[in-house]
């Protein structure tokens, strides 16, 4: 018998999903036992916990790492290289792991994990408020200008109703959504210069600024924004599709919840960052590695995806799951709210991961400076410049 210790982040999203998957896995593999380590609240805390535990007996055998933190993990030599395991396995594609999908969890071509849950940012809106504000909920805004105009109208409803909640807190993901949507990048090609303060970045940050100035977006903390939205006090929210299931539950039948694709500054070439995480094998124990590999494939495989997608709102990361009637089947037809994320899948590119030891700090710097724009204590330009110079300092000197 083998016992695998599994660690994962964001129990709010994944607790139920993990329980279901591990139960099923243990039924199918009676000789392997799954036990969970304490989950971490965020991807960042997750990776920090693992980094602290490396080399100690506390280190779990498997963990789920945010896609943007795989690079950091790899730089410290934490994950087991899955290349050899894949080579042994031979029929990955048949199990639904296309090359495209495998790529999501590669760092410099090295397979460090298997993507488990993938997401992109979408627009949630309160159809009732949109209607009250004179909009048509069936044709949600397609550009940021339209969003801002609609937001201003919603704000004008008064009665404590807020217009927009743009989820800029926590990490740089939503900023990336604006930046990539404008065709920008974080650093230049060879990662020697900061690039997010270029024209694309300026456009991105200006959107944030205008959301506040023109559409009256308030300064929400993360939970405050969520709560206000599900309470029916916010017109439009932008955040990960992964939060969909929870949002549906929290809204109940208080109002008519809808979703739509997120506007892009560059509607033609704009891209979106891929959120989510990948399962990573940590154990160096050969015997355990086999069991771990089995579990990793199971979780990231079609069965896993068929649990993750309906249970959270993530988009399918496994082609088999997406297409085979055995798994998701007619799920999307029956659940139109889930379609927004699905439709955006072609635009998904990797969530950019900064090089070096200070990755977490870098993203924190971007968040801090975005907050200055949100609370209007800095202009977009100032915020970008400050962020750029700070990030430059934090990047590894080459």
């Amino acid at each position: 018998d083998t016992t695998l210790t599994v660690h994962y982040p964001m129990p709010g999203f994944f607790k139920d999903v993990m329980d279901t998957i591990s139960k099923k896995f243990m039924e199918e593999n009676p000789d392997i036992k799954i036990q969970f380590a304490n989950p971490s609240a965020t991807y960042e805390e997750g990776i920090q916990t693992i980094m602290r535990q490396v080399g100690t007996s506390e280190m779990p055998d498997l963990t789920f790492i945010g896609l943007n933190r795989l690079r950091m993990a790899d730089e410290r030599g934490i994950p087991v290289d899955m290349g050899t395991l894949i080579a042994k396995d031979q029929n990955m594609a048949e199990q639904g792991f296309s090359d495209n999908i495998l790529k999501l969890a590669q760092v410099d071509g090295k397979q460090v994990g298997l993507a488990f849950a993938t997401s992109n940012p979408i627009m949630y809106y309160n159809a009732d408020l949109v209607k009250q504000a004179g909009g048509n909920p069936d044709t949600p805004p397609k550009t940021w200008d339209e969003v801002i105009a609609l937001g201003a109208k919603i704000k004008a409803l008064g009665n404590g109703v807020d217009s927009i909640d743009f989820r800029w807190q926590g990490d740089d993901w939503m900023f990336s959504a604006l930046l990539f949507g404008a065709g920008g990048t974080m650093l230049n090609e060879d990662e020697t210069e900061v690039a997010f303060n270029g024209p694309a970045g300026q456009k991105a940050m200006e959107v944030v600024d205008r959301l506040v100035k023109e559409a009256g977006m308030p300064v929400f903390t993360k939970p405050a924004g969520e709560q206000a939205f599900v309470a029916g006090k916010v017109g439009i929210a932008f955040q990960t599709t992964g939060a969909l299931r929870n949002t549906i539950k929290n809204v109940g039948d208080k109002f008519d919840l809808r979703t739509a694709e997120i506007p892009l500054i560059d509607a033609e070439n704009g891209k979106l960052p891929t959120g989510g995480n990948a399962v990573v094998i940590l154990t160096k124990d050969e015997a355990k590695q086999d069991a771990a590999w089995k579990f990793a494939k199971f979780a990231a495989g079609p069965y896993g995806a068929s649990v993750v997608v309906p249970g959270t709102g993530y988009v399918p990361n496994n082609e088999l799951a997406a297409k085979s009637p055995e798994y998701l089947g007619d799920f999307y037809e029956k659940n139109p709210l889930f379609q927004a994320g699905l439709k955006q899948m072609p635009r998904m590119i990797p969530w950019y991961a900064f090089p070096g030891a200070n990755g977490v700090r870098v993203t924190q710097t971007i968040v801090d400076n975005t907050s200055r724009v949100v609370d209007q204590s800095a202009t977009p330009q100032e915020a970008l410049d400050d962020a750029a110079s700070e990030v430059k300092r934090l990047l590894p000197r080459k």
């Binding site: 807020d162 308030p218 300064v219 903390t221 709560q227 206000a228 200070n358 977490v360 801090d368």
Partner: protein, 313 residues
């Protein structure tokens, strides 16, 4: 004693001397034995770690990497220029400067009211003490909701009287004060109980004497008897309150993560971030040393000021 040890031959000649020192030695040996566990544990869990922190403060030790180098005062120099750390120092100071005095005086006032009141003493005592006994991690969620800018009860009530409530935890201008309110809420009960105990210990005769002496108003009696007699309690309460305020961590960790834009970054949170999140133990140790130094200086200053005024019977 020292001389006797130095000249054992003399000690032998006078039986009386050895009798005395043997009894005294026996007592001292017993005392050592009884104190030994405490001394050992203090050494291992307080003294040694403090020295370790001081030492680590001069290294570049990082968790996850083995080995480290001594870097002299580099960490301290870096601290000097660290915007986050300066912000964090200032925030901690502001927080403590609000929470400690308010929670002390509020507790004192409430304690006197409860003491003067016959009924419901144990109800009030419990009601005010409850926050002390409850999980901040959990209560933070409630506070987050209470403070919610648009759907929160506090702003809803303010709206009833026509006041546009602030964005309590969301705005960098108010976040620290909001945390201070929670801090006060959590500390008052503790101080209150201490003050209640202090009040019961004041001899009733002193109040009688004050009345006979012509202290007509409650304020006069407070100035003449209550306040001076509570001196030692106040000293203790102040010490505990200041230390606790400087140690604020849980609310920041659970409610704001230091944000927005470091507006609620406080010392312990910064140390935690550096040490356990960014894993820079050496740098975090240097911060810890500064933190300890601040505590010690604060206490010395406070004792100096209060010692002159506090009366111990």
């Amino acid at each position: 004693m020292a001389e006797i040890v130095a000249t054992p031959s003399q000690g032998q000649t006078f039986g009386k001397v050895s009798a005395r020192s043997s009894a005294a030695r026996h007592e001292a040996r017993t005392a050592w034995l009884l104190a030994a566990p405490a001394i050992l544990l203090t050494f291992f869990f307080i003294v040694l770690p403090v020295f370790a922190v001081i030492t680590l403060g001069f290294t570049d030790f990082e968790l996850g990497y083995s080995g480290f180098q001594f870097v002299g005062a580099e960490n301290y120099l870096e601290l000097f220029g660290d915007r986050t750390f300066r912000q964090s120092l200032w925030n901690t100071f502001v927080y403590a400067a609000i929470v400690a005095p308010v929670s002390i005086f509020l507790a004192l006032g409430l304690a006197m009211l409860i003491e003067a009141e016959g009924i419901g003493r144990s109800f009030f005592r419990t009601a005010y003490f409850l926050p002390v006994a409850s999980l901040l991690v959990a209560m933070a969620t409630v506070w987050q909701y209470l403070f919610h800018p648009s759907i929160g009860p506090i702003n809803a009530m303010l709206a009833l009287v026509g006041i546009q409530g602030p964005n309590w935890l969301g705005a960098s201008s108010t976040v620290l004060y909001s945390l201070a309110i929670i801090g006060i809420w959590q500390t008052v009960g503790f101080n209150l109980v201490l003050f209640l105990a202090g009040l019961t210990a004041i001899p009733r005769d002193l109040y009688a004497a004050a009345e006979v002496d012509g202290a007509r108003s409650a304020w006069d009696r407070f100035r003449l008897v209550t306040w001076p007699m509570l001196g030692p309690t106040t000293l203790f309460v102040t010490t505990i309150s200041v230390i606790n305020a400087v140690k604020v961590f849980e609310t920041v960790k659970t409610l704001t993560e230091g944000g927005p834009n470091k507006a609620s970054e406080v010392l312990l949170f910064t140390i935690y971030q550096e040490g356990f999140v960014y894993l820079r133990v050496g740098y975090a140790s240097a911060m810890t040393v500064v933190f300890l130094a601040i505590l010690i200086v604060l206490m010395i200053v406070q004792y100096r000021i209060q010692d002159q005024q506090v009366h111990y019977t």
